[in-house]
């Protein structure tokens, strides 16, 4: 069976699940819902694996399947005068890049769906949760399997919608519904940039198809540093900052933790937020033509990485720490793309999907065990009570910190090396990423120690009910831990003797003469940098160990001593307050002004028209009463008055009438006598 021919089954199976749940889910039992909505993504994953294996036979050539032409837009003139025909079709493209994404989305997605059976089992709206999760899977798969920017945008918007629906899943809570709105609106700001970029692309290249645009970009038609291409790249990147939570549009992601933990794991760690990275990777041919845009991407990526890591140092909610960690790690991915090391960025995307999903699901397991407690100040010494969760979380924490041989080590180190050595990189970028690695190790181990080690600060009632999660939740944790441990091996770098299969696999997508030329480099320098990053991670681990295991009183003293700085990062640098003052409250003011205008002017106008109509009606009534009726009455009065003399004729006496007859005869006779 040719899996590739029916590649559209990969997104369609979850869509079917969503369709069933959202129409009939209410009437189905939890068991039936689970069977449908976890089984279908599982089938989708199996099919995706089949497609991937068949893709390998094609030796690097991309596979395209077009279902039908969606927008046959017709011929038009490009900006440079050439004639082009824009045809947007509903089509699927499977190449190395989208295959990686597809496997990550279906694989990790499936595991999270399995986990959710246990986590959401006692919640209301079970079918609704799975319906939205399936819808998300469908949208994300459309996004990664699309063969053109417009269809990708359909998936892009779809995942934004599902993000909103799932963040605001507990919509009865004001904070949750607010967070959902914030996510969608901030996302939308990015989407405006994305759309502008797509439109500019359409009139510059005459096509939105990935293969056609890439070919046109690599053909030499455009000079390096071309202004229009730079503008396109910057606009596309604006969309990426919104979707992938980079500066300045990252503020929605920490708030998105209001949603259920599986949502945080799937959407805000493993898949949706990586859509921006995927998009930049897909547009690599364009970005190579625009060094300014690349510098912007790298700069913002690095800045976001260290900014978010610094905020994560002081957060007390377990999910918040992981949220800021996600923002920071996404910064790493964009840093990689910004130095044209797209393969490294995607490598980190894959490993990050494993360990971040693991960390989130593990934190969900902790929260489940503590019956809803999320504040780390009320945790502690859970390691012995929930051992499976603790062990898998340890693997995840080691992976994200870059402990040698775990997946995070390989991918993060590749990024650090490329930031330093790539023709597009510079030492400052490496240094920022280096410091961030140390901060990452510190705050992640802080999280681990506060939650699982040390002295128990759990409240008494909660302590009675601490229990390990059921197998349906712990098995996905174990599988993800295994992935977080070994997934890095596919990218074993050359400096340590490997051949970096992963980057080799992605080469056809990211071919770049400049990068290939710099392939030969100093092994010892790379090895030295690798060692230094391991040391800085170890330093971060050691400080966390010192402060949270050996001398737990130190953090408070440090926080007190660094008072203003500590408050600054605890309050996330007051960015939300800044945005509120600059944009949100101004928008609300505008809304209020518009409402006041509507009330005073528009409603006033309508009411005024009403008042005026009543006035006209009153005048009409009086006119009718006095003038019209008056005329009629006057006529009657005149007739009455005139009738008085006439009435007298009618005496009722026959003799009077006889007299009148006689008089009449005499008059007639007189007339004739006179004339004759």
């Amino acid at each position: 069976m040719r899996f590739l021919d029916l590649i559209w089954l990969v997104p369609l199976l979850p869509a079917l699940g969503a369709f069933i749940q959202l129409l009939w889910g209410r009437k189905l039992s939890n068991r039936a819902v689970s069977l449908v909505s976890v089984g279908l993504p599982g089938l989708s994953f199996a099919w995706a694996v089949g497609c991937f294996l068949q893709l390998l036979h094609l030796q690097g050539a991309p596979f395209t399947k077009i279902l039908y032409t969606w927008l046959p837009a017709g011929a038009f003139h490009l900006a440079d005068g050439a004639l082009a025909q824009l045809n947007v079709e509903v089509g699927f493209q499977l190449d190395a890049l989208s295959a990686v994404m597809m496997l990550v989305v279906t694989g990790v997605g499936f595991l999270i769906h399995v986990y959710s059976i246990g986590y959401m089992g006692h919640e209301g709206g079970y079918y609704r949760f799975f319906g939205y999760m399936n819808l998300f899977m469908f949208s994300m798969l459309v996004l990664v399997l699309a063969d053109n920017y417009l269809m990708m945008f359909v998936g892009w918007e779809g995942v934004g919608l599902c993000s909103y629906l799932l963040i605001g899943f507990y919509f009865h809570r004001q904070s949750a519904s607010d967070a959902g709105k914030k996510a969608f609106i901030v996302n939308r700001v990015g989407d405006a940039g994305f759309l502008l970029g797509v439109m500019l692309m359409a009139v510059t290249f005459g096509s939105l198809n990935f293969l056609e645009v890439t070919e046109a970009a690599r053909s030499g038609r455009f000079a390096v540093g071309d202004g229009v291409v730079t503008a396109i790249c910057i606009l596309l990147f604006v969309g990426a900052t919104g979707k992938s939570a980079q500066i300045p549009l990252y503020t929605w992601l920490p708030d998105a933790m209001e949603g259920p933990t599986p949502v945080s794991a799937l959407i805000h760690a493993a898949t949706m937020v990586t859509a921006g990275v995927y998009m930049v990777g897909r547009s690599n041919a364009l970005f190579i033509l625009a060094p300014t845009a690349l510098a912007l991407v790298a700069g913002i990526g690095a800045a976001t990485a260290i900014w978010a890591a610094s905020i994560g140092l002081a957060q007390n909610d377990i999910k918040r720490v992981l949220a800021y960690s996600t923002v920071s790690q996404l910064g790493y991915m964009f840093l990689a793309c910004g130095v044209a090391a797209f393969g490294a960025g995607i490598f980190h995307l894959m490993t990050h999907a494993f360990f971040k999903a693991l960390l989130f699901l593990g934190s969900g397991s902790v929260i489940h065990a503590l019956a809803g407690e999320q504040d780390m100040r009320k945790m502690g010494a859970l390691g012995s009570k929930i051992p499976t969760t603790a062990k898998t979380m340890l693997v995840g924490t080691l992976a994200i910190s870059g402990a040698p041989l775990l997946s995070g080590f390989f991918s993060k180190d590749e990024i650090l090396w490329q930031a330093f050595a790539s023709p597009y990189g510079r030492g400052l970028l490496w240094f920022v990423a280096f410091v961030t690695a140390g901060l990452t190790a510190f705050y992640m181990f802080r999280l681990f120690f506060l939650t699982f080690e040390g002295r128990s600060r759990v409240s008494h009632e909660v302590e009675q009910h601490i229990h390990e999660s059921p197998r349906v939740m712990t098995v996905p944790l174990i599988v993800l831990a295994a992935g977080a441990a070994v997934a890095g091996f596919v990218g074993w770098p050359k400096v340590l003797g490997g051949s970096n299969h992963f980057e080799h696999f992605l080469e056809p997508v990211f071919e770049n003469p400049t990068m290939r030329a710099s392939a030969h480099h100093v092994w010892s320098l790379e090895f030295g940098l690798m060692l230094s990053s391991v040391l800085v991670a170890a330093a971060g681990f050691y400080v966390a160990y010192l402060w949270y295991i050996r001398r737990p009183e130190v953090p408070e003293r440090v926080a007190a001593a660094a008072g203003p700085a500590y408050r600054l990062i605890l309050n996330k640098y007051y960015v939300d307050e800044f945005y509120d003052a600059l944009f949100v409250n101004r928008a609300k003011n505008l809304g209020n002004a518009a409402a006041a205008f509507d009330l005073a002017v528009v409603d006033g106008g309508v009411n005024g028209t009403g008042w005026f109509t009543r006035l006209a009606a009153e005048i009409s009534r009086l006119w009718d009463l006095w003038v019209i009726d008056g005329l009629v009455n006057v006529t009657a009065f005149a007739v009455k008055v005139l009738s008085y003399p006439v009435r007298i004729v009618q005496t009722g006496l026959v003799q009077t009438y006889a007299l009148l007859i006689v008089l009449g005869v005499l008059i007639f006779m007189g007339y004739y006598l006179i004339h004759f």
Binding site: R647, I648, T651, G652, L653, V654, Q655, A658, L659, V662
Partner: protein
């Protein structure tokens, strides 16, 4: 021979008296009698002109008039009786139901 105009003057006098009677008298029976007087005046006129024109047409017409007067008198009296039954009066002044 009596000149014709003597008959005409007689006829006119009788006619005038009759008319005055109709217009003036109170008793409805007297009004009826006055109407008879008018009709008879007309008869004299007709017969006088019949003699003048040496034609019998006038006399024939006079017979018709007499017949007619008789019928009319019968009807008139019937009216008066009906009227009397309703209004108990034979005074023309008192029959003014159709007064304004």
């Amino acid at each position: 021979m009596i000149p014709t105009h003597y008959y005409l003057f007689l006829g006119t006098a009788l006619f005038t008296i009759g008319v005055i009677g109709v217009l003036t008298r109170r008793n409805v029976i007297v009004i009826l009698m006055s109407i008879e007087l008018i009709l008879n005046a007309v008869n004299i006129n007709l017969v006088a002109f019949s003699r003048y024109f040496q034609s019998v047409d006038g006399q024939v017409f006079a017979i018709f008039v007499i017949t007619d007067a008789a019928a009319e008198a019968a009807v008139g009296l019937g009216l008066i009786i009906a009227l009397f039954r309703n209004k108990e009066t034979v005074n023309a002044d008192e029959i003014d139901l159709l007064k304004w």
